[in-house]
């Protein structure tokens, strides 16, 4: 890759690289068109483009950003691709990977997958009339998909194994490394340590299963995206994260703003998931508020260090107070 060209015209370099690549996917393809960066994805870059000629596939490139940033990191692109292939083979709705980038491709580290047609923007899914059927079945369907993820065989996947206590300790370290002194976080860390669940049979955990990472059609969930935080650990973690108040987008219903916990748990158990312990899910939900707060502190560090100067990141960096409000209410009232 020509470094100077990459700095001056990064999109041209990427466009040329992808144009060279697509004939290996479909010999009849003559190049690409419609390359654009998609919003969202704070840690990985996501690009959309279409094969020009041949099958004309709509494709998504997911790749590592050029510059490293402070804070928690994912499992890496190669491991993420292996996780996606594994769960897709186990019947989880996940993207189909068409190509993993090699150094010869000259456009960084990542992979190309088929685009899943649908909607991922939470506000549309939560409000638009056309998604009413998907909303009605969401909690149960999410439970069923999570059961399938947790039943996938994680043998040999190059991803970390994390007990509840290790997840908590990691958050404590990241908070102290990148955040400010916050009495509410100190209280939450202590409460979580005193109430940590016993380790249960470890499973493949998605790690970021929430509105925004799920692609919807009117009929329901079509795909589960963003597997960069996959690990082996307590399967209840995925349910706690899904129920956390920040992912309800102003709605009252706890499961992604759309459903009841009872339906999530029933869907999970009906699909063969291990019996759900609501108290453990609740512990993970509290940890999830702290986790989102620590991620926000890391994003504030990106702003401070100049590695992300977008207006959006400046605004998100001011959202730690939302997690303090959630945690404080829990500590004072134990409220749902």
């Amino acid at each position: 890759m020509n470094a100077a060209q990459d700095i001056l015209h990064p999109q041209t370099t990427l466009e040329n690289g992808l144009a060279r690549l697509v004939p290996t996917l479909d010999p009849a393809a003559q190049g690409i068109k419609g390359l654009r960066r998609l919003s969202g994805g704070a840690s990985q870059e996501t690009w959309s483009f279409q094969m020009d000629g041949g099958q004309g596939y709509h494709l998504i490139l997911r790749r590592e950003p050029a510059a490293a940033r402070s804070g928690g990191t994912g499992i890496g692109m190669a491991a993420e691709a292996r996780v996606i292939k594994r769960v897709a083979a186990a019947g989880v709705p996940a993207p189909q990977i068409e190509h993993e980038l090699t150094p010869d491709d000259g456009i960084g580290a990542g992979f190309v997958m088929l685009r899943i047609d649908g909607e991922a923007l939470p506000h549309r899914i939560l409000r638009d009339d056309s998604y009413a059927p998907a909303r009605a079945k969401f909690a149960r369907q999410a439970g069923k998909i999570l059961a399938r993820i947790h039943q996938s065989d994680p043998t040999g996947l190059p991803i970390p194994v994390l007990s509840p206590r290790e997840v908590l300790d990691d958050l404590g370290h990241r908070h102290r490394a990148f955040g400010a002194a916050r009495p509410v976080f100190s209280l939450a860390l202590r409460w979580l340590a005193q109430h940590a669940p016993e380790p249960r049979a470890p499973k493949l955990v998605h790690g970021d299963f929430r509105m925004g990472n799920l692609i919807f059609g009117p009929e329901g969930i079509r795909g589960v995206l963003d597997w960069e935080l996959a690990h082996i650990g307590d399967p209840m973690a995925d349910m706690g994260w899904l129920c956390m108040e920040s992912w309800r987008f102003g709605n009252a219903d706890p499961v992604g703003g759309l459903g009841r916990r009872e339906d999530l748990f029933a869907g999970y158990e009906a699909a063969g998931g291990d019996p759900v312990d609501p108290a453990t899910v609740r512990w993970w939900e509290i940890l999830s508020a702290l986790r989102w707060g620590v991620i926000i502190e890391e994003m504030a560090a990106w702003v401070r260090e100049g590695t992300d100067t977008s207006v959006e990141r400046h605004v998100i960096a001011r959202r730690a107070s939302e997690t303090e409000a959630i945690l404080l209410l829990h500590l004072l009232e134990g409220a749902a």
Partner: protein, 131 residues
């Protein structure tokens, strides 16, 4: 010297309205989203400029709680250390009221519409004996 009108509040309100209603409408999809985020950022700054200063009251409550004097940062770090070693918890008189007040001061500027902010305001009212 007294500055002329309009006030910072009025100027920022006009900027936010322009970003949201005019600029956003004229921009392509992703930039439109960013213009709305920028309008929200201006509104946040406007709320912060308009807020009553609360830091001296917070420092007074913190001082009483940790039994020391000093700047806000040092007192807050001291309180966190006391919580982490178990010396102070929510049964300590004054801690709940301090944390409710400081969290509300922040979220009322950062995100007054967030769902948990309303519940925290209601809790603060009940603790003051109001209906």
């Amino acid at each position: 010297m007294m500055q002329d009108q309009p006030s910072p509040n009025a100027i920022l309100a006009a900027v936010a309205a322009w970003l949201r209603d005019t600029a956003a409408e004229a921009l392509p999809a992703h930039a439109r989203f960013e213009a709305k985020v920028a309008a929200g950022a201006v509104e946040l700054v406007r709320r912060q400029i308009g807020a009553e200063p609360s830091e001296s009251e917070e420092a007074r409550m913190l001082s009483a709680l940790v039994g020391d004097t000093g700047g806000l940062d040092a007192l807050t770090a001291r309180l966190c250390a006391q919580i982490e070693n178990g010396e102070t918890d929510l049964s300590t008189p004054g801690l709940s009221d301090l944390l409710i007040a400081t969290t509300l001061n922040k979220i009322d500027i950062d995100q007054p519409e967030f769902s948990a902010a309303a519940r925290l305001r209601a809790l603060a009212q009940r603790r003051r004996g109001l209906p």
